[in-house]
């Protein structure tokens, strides 16, 4: 159960090697979290991530999960929920893709879309139903500032996050009043493996900063969290820039 400050005792990470998710798990283990499920494609990286969290004193288990295999989500995730209540589901998987390659290879562009959007739709719905049956819990969805307005430079990734973001907002509304809380997290440029080698955008942030924002959002039962918070204002302005101007902006 969550305590009065929204700190969860158990969590399930979809995308168990995500740096943001692991930073969040480390932060929450320092509070109340004692049980962590890391769901992801079986790999040494997943096992290493689990071992690193175990050192902090949590009971960590891994479960094979593939965003690109939605038919299996019901069974895989059902097993996790059958083991006990999950106070927090962190939907953290996603791929950035390679914009220039993806534009020329529709097949790989579709993989980006399927991972980031379709995979989230199926696993998000499975988890939402399980949380609703519990009568409590949070579903935290890692969206992106890129989903707020598609940019020339990464519109394939951006459009998939836009779909994810709209899905998560709608799901949050659908679950309003059921005891389940859905929180959409929109980080800007985060310095992770995913962004290594990319030119850094203004207001760049770190996985730890996103983790802090998630913890605060859980405490406040927020519906939307921007990281850093200043992005909320920036994006409010950018949303209203005319397209002819927007496409020429150096962002």
């Amino acid at each position: 159960m969550k305590d009065a400050f929204g700190a969860p005792q158990s969590m399930l990470v979809l995308g168990g090697t995500s740096e943001i998710a692991l930073a969040t798990a480390r932060r929450l283990i320092a509070r109340r979290t004692r049980t962590v499920w890391l769901a992801g494609r079986p790999s040494p990286a997943l096992e290493t991530a689990a071992a690193d969290l175990r050192v902090l004193g949590a009971d960590v288990r891994t479960v094979a999960f593939d965003a690109l295999d939605p038919d299996a989500h019901e069974i895989t995730l059902g097993k996790v929920f059958a083991e006990g209540d999950i106070d927090l589901v962190l939907l953290a998987f996603g791929v950035l893709g390679d914009q220039s390659r993806d534009e020329n290879e529709p097949g790989s562009a579709v993989r980006v879309a399927q991972t980031n959007y379709t995979g989230a739709v199926s696993s998000g719905l499975v988890c939402a139903r399980a949380l609703q049956a519990q009568g409590h819990g949070s579903l935290v969805v890692l969206s992106s500032v890129a989903g707020e307005r598609a940019r020339r430079a990464n519109f394939i990734y951006g459009s998939s996050k836009a779909g994810l973001d709209a899905f998560a907002q709608g799901l949050g509304d659908a679950l309003h009043g059921t005891g389940v809380h859905v929180m959409v997290v929109r980080p800007g440029f985060v310095r992770t493996r995913m962004t290594t080698g990319l030119p850094e955008a203004p207001l760049a942030t770190t996985p730890e900063a996103v983790a802090t924002a998630i913890e605060t959002g859980l405490r406040r039962r927020s519906e939307t969290v921007w990281v850093p918070g200043a992005l909320r204002l920036v994006m409010t302005a950018l949303r209203h820039v005319p397209r002819s101007v927007f496409r020429r902006l150096p962002i």
Binding site: D3, A4, F5, Q9, D85, G135, H136, G177, G179, R220
Partner: protein
């Protein structure tokens, strides 16, 4: 039987969860509700005054017992009452005071049910004299997980597991309670001020035994030399002869007139109770109290239940709700108490309802909170930055001093500390395992702390 799916919180309004609220109107309906409550179990609920998650059950059933509220029999000579567990102490006072009887123990609110009073084994300002509520309960009827109704008498393991058992042994249906005789419905109250914590503790230690009821309001925002300054209010039921002749009070000495103000509005902004407002309030409250006054006549509601006059006062903390922290440390652990009060006052926690009192001997309930020693209760807005970690640190101090926190008020304790605080937790778990192997009785509290 009526059932709605609703969001449920405790009085502190933190951590809401959703449950089916079932309102049994007869014992048979209650038994049916327990038998049919499903895989996520159920938990009885009274008037929802437990601060934390004791009467919540996410995804399961919550049995609202306030529909079963009949007073069955009053023995006006012997001084006992047999009533449904859904009867409130407020109702009992209305019924019993005209007959010259009072409830044996009342907490800071009259709006708790008899079932809740047993389940939390509540205490009042008279604990140092009278012990906690269950000490005055002769027997009760308990609806257990198998759907049977058992009569449970004092001195049995099931009685001691249920007294303070937070509703996890079953649903109490009726109880027989021993009452306190009174000659009037007024209180004779002595008030004095203490200039700091040591002065307060010295006064309480030296003179507490002279009063049936005793409590100190303590200003936790005061720092430095005035740290722990407080107002002591102590007294007893007023005898008939102190009421002046030819007054209304003398003509109707047992009349019960609690009075009430308008309710706090449903929506109030957060941060209303910050350091400035609470600091001002505390300053005023301390200054307005007489340095020393004795024999003042007060109504029962003024003396025991000042906040009941403002319905829904919990809303003044805004949407974020508040956390109530109450702990006890034994006599001989005064240094731990001093350290904790010092830390709270250094931290500038805006608490305007901080109360210190001395407990008498502990009670036999396995998870009963009181033990002989000092108890401090305070409430703090839940959105105060860093409050979670700070209270964890206070827990460490309390545990190191062999003390404990009160489960009826808890909403955030680290589960690992529970067995240290409650040495009979193992017995409680074993009895529950035997009596209720499928954990039919389950609450958010029991899930969170692994009770």
């Amino acid at each position: 039987m009526p059932a709605d799916t609703v969001s449920v919180t405790g009085w502190g309004r933190t951590a809401p969860t959703t449950a089916r609220l079932i309102r049994p109107r007869s014992y048979e309906e209650a038994a049916a509700a327990v038998r049919e409550c499903g895989a996520r179990g159920g938990i009885p609920r009274g008037l929802g005054r437990a601060y934390g998650d004791a009467a919540q059950n996410a995804g399961g059933a919550v049995f609202d017992m306030t529909g079963l509220d009949r007073v069955h029999a009053i023995d006006a000579d012997g001084g006992t009452v047999l009533c449904d567990a859904g009867v409130s102490l407020h109702r009992l006072m209305e019924v019993l005071l005209p007959l010259g009887w009072f409830v044996p123990v009342t907490p800071g609110t009259r709006y708790v049910t008899v079932g809740g009073a047993i389940g939390a084994d509540i205490h009042g300002k008279n604990h140092h004299v009278s012990g906690s509520f269950a000490r005055h309960v002769l027997s009760f009827e308990l609806l257990t997980a198998d759907g049977e109704i058992r009569t449970v008498s004092r001195g049995t393991p099931l009685f001691d597991a249920t007294a303070g058992g937070m509703g996890l042994t079953g649903v109490i249906l009726t109880a027989t309670v021993r009452l306190q005789p009174v000659a009037t419905s007024l209180m004779s109250v002595d008030t004095e001020r203490a200039t700091d914590l040591d002065d307060l503790m010295a006064r309480l230690t030296a003179t507490d035994h002279r009063y049936r009821y005793s409590v100190a309001w303590i200003d936790l925002l005061a720092r430095g030399a005035s740290m722990g300054r407080s107002v002591l209010t102590r007294g007893d039921h007023a005898p008939l002869e102190v009421l002046a002749d030819r007054t209304r009070a003398r003509r109707a000495p047992l009349e019960f007139r609690p009075g009430s103000l308008p309710a706090a509005p449903a929506w109030l902004p957060e941060g209303l109770l910050g350091r400035t407002t609470v600091g001002l309030f505390n300053e005023l409250w301390y200054r307005k109290a007489p340095r020393e006054r004795s024999g003042e006549l007060q109504r029962i509601s003024t003396f025991f239940h000042p906040l009941d006059g403002v319905p829904h006062w919990n809303r003044v903390y805004g949407r974020g709700g508040f956390v109530q922290y109450q702990f006890v440390v034994g006599y001989g652990q005064e240094d731990a108490l001093r350290r904790i009060v010092h830390r709270i006052s250094q931290r500038r926690c805006p608490s305007f309802l901080a109360v210190l009192k001395r407990f008498g001997e502990g009670d036999p309930g396995w998870l009963s909170f009181p033990m002989s020693g000092w108890t401090l209760a305070l409430d703090i807005p839940a959105n105060l930055p860093g409050l979670d970690g700070f209270l964890d640190e206070l827990d460490e101090e309390v545990t190191a001093a062999a003390g404990r926190v009160y489960l009826a008020k808890d909403s955030r304790l680290r589960p690992e500390l529970l067995s240290e605080m409650y040495p009979r937790l193992g017995d409680f778990r074993a009895l529950r395992e035997e009596l209720d192997p499928r954990s039919v009785f389950t609450s958010d509290l029991s899930r969170r702390l692994g009770l």
